[in-house]
Assembly symmetry: C2
Homo-oligomer: 248 residues x 2
C-alpha cells in the first residue's frame, strides 16, 4: 500500500459540506468515488477535518492509500480532476509516509473569513464574502480581538457537534486573529491548533455583533467563563469562510 | 423629466444576456422592472449595448428618465439594489444632461477576456475564466496581436447579429489589445471605438487557435480580406468575457 496526500480546493456553495450528510451532496464522498474509479478499487479518503455546508476550502488536506504506486502523479491529478466537478479540484498530490494521517497529525489550521463593508455588493464576490449592511465599526471589532487570543475553553463558541464526532476537549489555543483590510471590506485571519465545530463562525458573529453595537467587547471574558453558547453572538453565515491551510 | 446614468455590475452566469430574449431571464428587463417599482411609473432603461448570455459586466452603463428628481441618490441606490438579485447590483448613479444617451454617445468600450492556463482549474475563478487544456503558446498568441490593431473591416470576426440590431458598418478601430499575465493565466484587454456582435469572443477564439498551433498568425490578413466568418477561428465561450468600461 502506498499513501498519498492530496490538497483540494473547493467552492462549497453547492455542497452539503465535506462529510456525507443525510441530504445534499457532500465533497468527501465525491472525491472518494472518483479515486475509486481511477484506482479501480474501493478507496477511503480521510480529510483533515470537516467543513460545514457552504464553507469553502483553498487547501483542504486528505490522504488515501493506493494498492499500487502511482507512477505518473501529474497524469493522475489531471485524470482525477476530470472525474470531479469543476468546483472541486485537487491542486496537488504528494506521496507520504505510510503513517501520515491527515486528521491526527494536523497541528494547526488557518481559516479566513471575508466581510463585505462596501455600500454596494460586488456581484463577483457575493458567494465568498458576507455583506454587512448598516453601521459597522472596525475599530470596535479590533478592540475585541485580544480577548480571543491565547488558550481558552471555547465551549461558548461552539455548537454541539454531530453525534459521534464531538471533540470532548474544548480547549484551543488561538495563535493569531488578524484583521486585514481588503478592497471591499475586511478579512479575519484565524490561526489555532484546532477549531471546534462552528467556532470560527460563532466568533465572527460575535465580533460583528460587537462592531454593530449589539454587544460590548468587555462581555467576552464573562462569555468564556460561563461556557454558554447562548451568551455569545450570532453564528456568521458559511459563505464568507475559507479553510486556507492545514499545518503538519 | 430628469435623466440618470447608472453603472451596473453583473455576473452573467445565470442570465440570458442584457437584452430580453425568448427564453431565459435577461438583465435589462430585471433592472427596468425594479426601477418601475421604485419610481412608481413604467420606466425605459437604455444600455450602452448588449452583452450576450453568460457574459459579465464590471461597469455596464445605462440611462433612464425619472418624472421627478431623485432627491437622495444614495438611498435610491440602496433601495434599487435591494430589489435586484445579488448578482446584478447597481454600483453608481449620476444625474446627467437630458440629451445624454448611453448607447449613441458611447465613444468606445473596454472588454477583458480571462484565459486560465494553469494545469489545475481554480474552483473560485471557474465561472470567470476560460480554462485551456493542453499546449498553449502565449508567444504565438502575442505575435498575432498586431494584426488586430488599427482600423479594419471586422466582418470575418462577427456573427450575423440579431434581427434589427445589426450594425451595418463593420469597420472598427482596435486601439489596444494587451496581453496581461495573471496568476493563473492571461487577460486579454480589448479597447476599441466599438465592437461588433461576438467580435471579442471570435478574436479570442482565433488567438487561442493560433496559440494551440491550429492556425498561423500569418493567416489573419487573409481572413480580414475574405470577410468570411468561417475562415476565422472558433468562438470563445462567454464566461471569460467582461465588459469593463464604456467611454463617453
Amino acid at each position: 500500500m502506498d499513501r498519498y496526500k492530496i490538497i483540494i480546493s473547493y467552492d462549497g456553495t453547492l455542497y452539503a459540506g465535506w462529510q456525507v450528510q443525510k441530504t445534499g451532496i457532500a465533497i468527501q464522498p465525491l472525491i472518494q468515488k472518483a479515486l475509486a474509479t481511477i484506482l479501480r478499487s474501493p478507496t477511503d479518503l480521510t480529510g483533515s477535518g470537516r467543513t460545514d455546508a457552504g464553507v469553502h476550502a483553498l487547501a483542504q488536506v486528505a490522504h488515501f492509500d493506493a494498492e499500487h504506486p502511482i507512477t505518473d502523479l501529474h497524469k493522475f491529478l489531471v485524470s482525477l480532476n476530470a472525474l470531479l466537478p469543476i468546483d472541486i479540484q485537487v491542486q496537488e498530490i504528494h506521496p507520504v509516509a505510510p503513517n501520515f494521517h491527515a486528521r491526527y497529525q494536523a497541528t494547526g489550521k488557518i481559516y479566513y473569513y471575508h466581510l463585505g463593508l462596501s455600500a454596494v455588493t460586488n456581484p463577483f464576490t457575493r458567494l465568498y464574502r458576507t455583506q454587512i449592511f448598516g453601521s459597522f465599526s472596525v475599530e470596535r471589532l479590533k478592540k475585541a480581538i485580544p480577548h480571543f487570543l491565547g488558550t481558552h475553553d471555547f465551549t461558548a463558541f461552539t455548537h454541539q457537534a454531530h453525534k459521534g464526532t464531538a471533540s470532548h476537549d474544548p480547549i484551543r489555543t488561538m495563535q493569531r486573529l488578524d484583521v486585514i483590510e481588503e478592497e471591499e471590506g475586511i478579512r479575519l485571519e484565524f490561526e489555532a491548533d484546532g477549531f471546534l465545530y462552528k467556532m470560527v463562525r460563532n466568533i465572527v458573529g460575535t465580533l460583528c455583533d460587537i462592531a454593530q453595537g449589539k454587544m460590548e467587547a468587555g462581555q467576552i471574558p464573562e462569555i468564556f467563563a460561563l461556557k454558554d453558547r447562548k451568551k455569545a453572538g450570532t453564528c456568521a453565515p458559511p459563505h464568507g469562510l475559507f479553510l486556507v491551510h492545514v499545518k503538519y
